[in-house]
């Protein structure tokens, strides 16, 4: 068989063989393989895209978090400040109130002490007057019982009274 001359039998066999191989492989091998490769490529591309999107989302969320945190910090400071002010004012109010109350109580006490004192003085005055009358009465009765003493008294009194 010549090297350079095509041989009919071989051509026919190769043609049929190759054609059948091609048709079988096309249907049962290349189609599923190529489809699967395409599907895998697509899924990888999609996954990468989704990952990229997620990354962006995360960075966006992080920025948001930072903002929210800053706001929260600010708010906290505000609240603390307000609380401090409230505390201060509350204490001051209480202090003022207490001072006023105590002042009022002291005033009342002073008033009542004054009243008591006045009443006591008046009582004392009244008793002293009564005692004086009693004493005078007693002295007079004793003085007048004795004619000598009576006379003395009259004398003394008469001595005291200066005649003008």
């Amino acid at each position: 068989m010549g090297l350079l001359t095509p041989d009919t039998g071989t051509i026919i066999w190769t043609f049929i063989g190759f054609l059948i191989t091609f048709l079988i492989l096309r249907k049962y091998a290349w189609k599923p393989i190529l489809n699967a490769l395409k599907e895998r490529d697509n899924s990888i591309a999609n996954a990468l895209k989704a990952a990229d999107k997620a990354k962006k989302e995360i960075s966006r969320l992080e920025a948001d978090n930072e903002k929210i945190l800053a706001e929260a910090r600010l708010e906290r400071d505000q609240i603390i400040k307000e609380a401090r002010e409230l505390k201060e004012s509350l204490i001051n109010d209480a202090k003022d109130q207490a001072k006023a109350e105590s002042k009022k109580m002291i005033e009342e006490a002073r008033e009542s002490i004054k009243n008591e004192k006045t009443a006591a003085i008046n009582e004392l005055k009244k008793q002293v007057a009564e005692f004086s009358v009693d004493i005078a009465e007693k002295i007079l009765s004793s003085e007048l019982s004795d004619p000598k003493k009576h006379k003395d008294l009259v004398d003394r009194t008469l001595n005291d009274i200066r005649f003008m």
């Binding site: 068989m1 090297l3 350079l4 001359t5 095509p6 041989d7 009919t8 039998g9 071989t10 051509i11 026919i12 066999w13 190769t14 043609f15 063989g17 190759f18 059948i20 191989t21 091609f22 079988i24 492989l25 096309r26 049962y28 091998a29 290349w30 189609k31 599923p32 393989i33 190529l34 489809n35 699967a36 490769l37 599907e39 895998r40 899924s43």
Partner: protein
């Protein structure tokens, strides 16, 4: 892999069975063989190996040819269909059913009938047997490879998939898409993949020196002719308006080149045929050349052996080193030629489907 190994083993056992059968047929031939001591002819040694044959020659021990006989299928108008094993010819010594194997002359190596006419020869020759084996191998490997993809496309490749998938992706991304374009490449992918792996498998099988390897299939002009024919048919069928316009009314060329003498259309028309012709010759020449060089190094041993035995031992070392080197080179060539054929086919398809711009 285990199954593949088993397949090979069965084939080997079958060949041994055939051998046994054949040896019974050859007692008469031996006597005549032993008288003449044939001189070694490197030319016929090489061409016998790279050419086709009706039997699969494995080796010659002494004067006994050990080969696997293959079925001969002949059809002639006068005799009709006749099928018999090639062992009936006894290496050209006998004729059978009126057919004989020509050992010399114009039809050397072919089967002729009594009048010297050539019947339609559909024999399973060495190349055809190798072709059938490689087809079986390719089908088995790729159908097995496709199975996991059908089950779950998103699973990462494993086993044979991980070896073949990069090649498939390479053909798609580096051959088909750049040459044909992203829009149209899909139609051509099955053909490109089939032709690539067909050539690759047969190239590599050709490098294996023992059957079922060793046939020079992709170095056979008939086989490369058929492959180129497929590329030609697909290019012609898929050719769009723009492609044919480019051939018959080439744009951007002076009018006097087209009318009155249609020089450009003629050149372009010849071009349609030269492209696949080049594909055919390139593959054939590269693979055949590789086989010839490898056989040449082997022949050196025998040539020197005829001068002196010692010299042959010396030469054999050098020859085998070169042979191993050549085999590695041929392994590279096997890939390159499969790639080149596929790539050029893709380029032609790209030209045929290119849109006007």
């Amino acid at each position: 892999m285990m199954r593949f190994f088993l397949c090979c083993m069965t084939l080997l056992f079958m060949s041994v069975l055939f051998l046994k059968a054949e040896e019974k047929h050859t007692p008469s031939g031996e006597a005549t063989h032993q008288i003449e001591k044939k001189k070694f002819e490197p030319g016929s040694f090489m061409f016998d190996h790279i050419g086709d044959a009706y039997e699969w020659h494995i080796m010659t021990v002494g004067h006994k040819h050990i080969s696997i006989p293959l079925p001969v299928i002949l059809y002639s108008k006068t005799k009709g269909l006749s099928i018999f094993m090639s062992g009936r010819f006894h290496h050209g010594h006998n004729s059978y059913k009126g057919y004989k194997l020509e050992m010399s002359g114009e039809n050397k190596g072919k089967i002729t009938d009594e009048e010297g006419n050539l019947p339609l020869d559909l024999s399973i020759t060495k190349n055809v047997a190798s072709l059938l084996f490689s087809i079986g191998l390719i089908l088995w490997i790729f159908l097995a490879m496709a199975k996991p993809y059908k089950r779950n496309a998103l699973k990462p490749p494993r086993g044979i998939q991980s070896f073949l998938e990069p090649i498939v992706v390479f053909i798609r991304d580096e051959v088909a898409i750049p040459s044909i374009g992203k829009k149209k490449y899909e139609v051509f992918m099955p053909y490109l993949l089939t032709v690539f792996f067909f050539i690759l498998f047969n190239n590599v099988l050709g490098l294996i020196p023992v059957p079922p390897g060793g046939a020079n299939l992709t170095g056979n002009i008939s086989v490369t002719f058929v492959l180129a024919l497929f590329t030609f048919i697909i290019t012609t069928i898929r050719g769009n308006r723009n492609y044919w316009k480019h051939i018959f009314n080439t744009p951007g060329v002076p009018v006097w080149l087209k009318i009155p003498v249609p020089l450009m259309p003629l050149v372009e028309t010849i071009g349609i045929f030269t492209k696949p012709f080049v594909l055919m010759v390139r593959l054939f020449a590269n693979i055949t050349a590789g086989h010839i060089i490898a056989l040449g190094f082997l022949s050196l041993i025998y040539i020197f052996a005829e001068m002196s035995t010692g010299l042959a031992y010396g030469v054999s070392i050098v020859s085998i080193v070169f042979l191993i080197f050549m085999t590695f080179l041929e392994l590279l060539v096997a890939f390159i030629q499969a790639f080149v054929f596929t790539f050029l086919s893709a380029l032609y398809f790209g030209m045929a489907t290119e849109e006007h711009h």
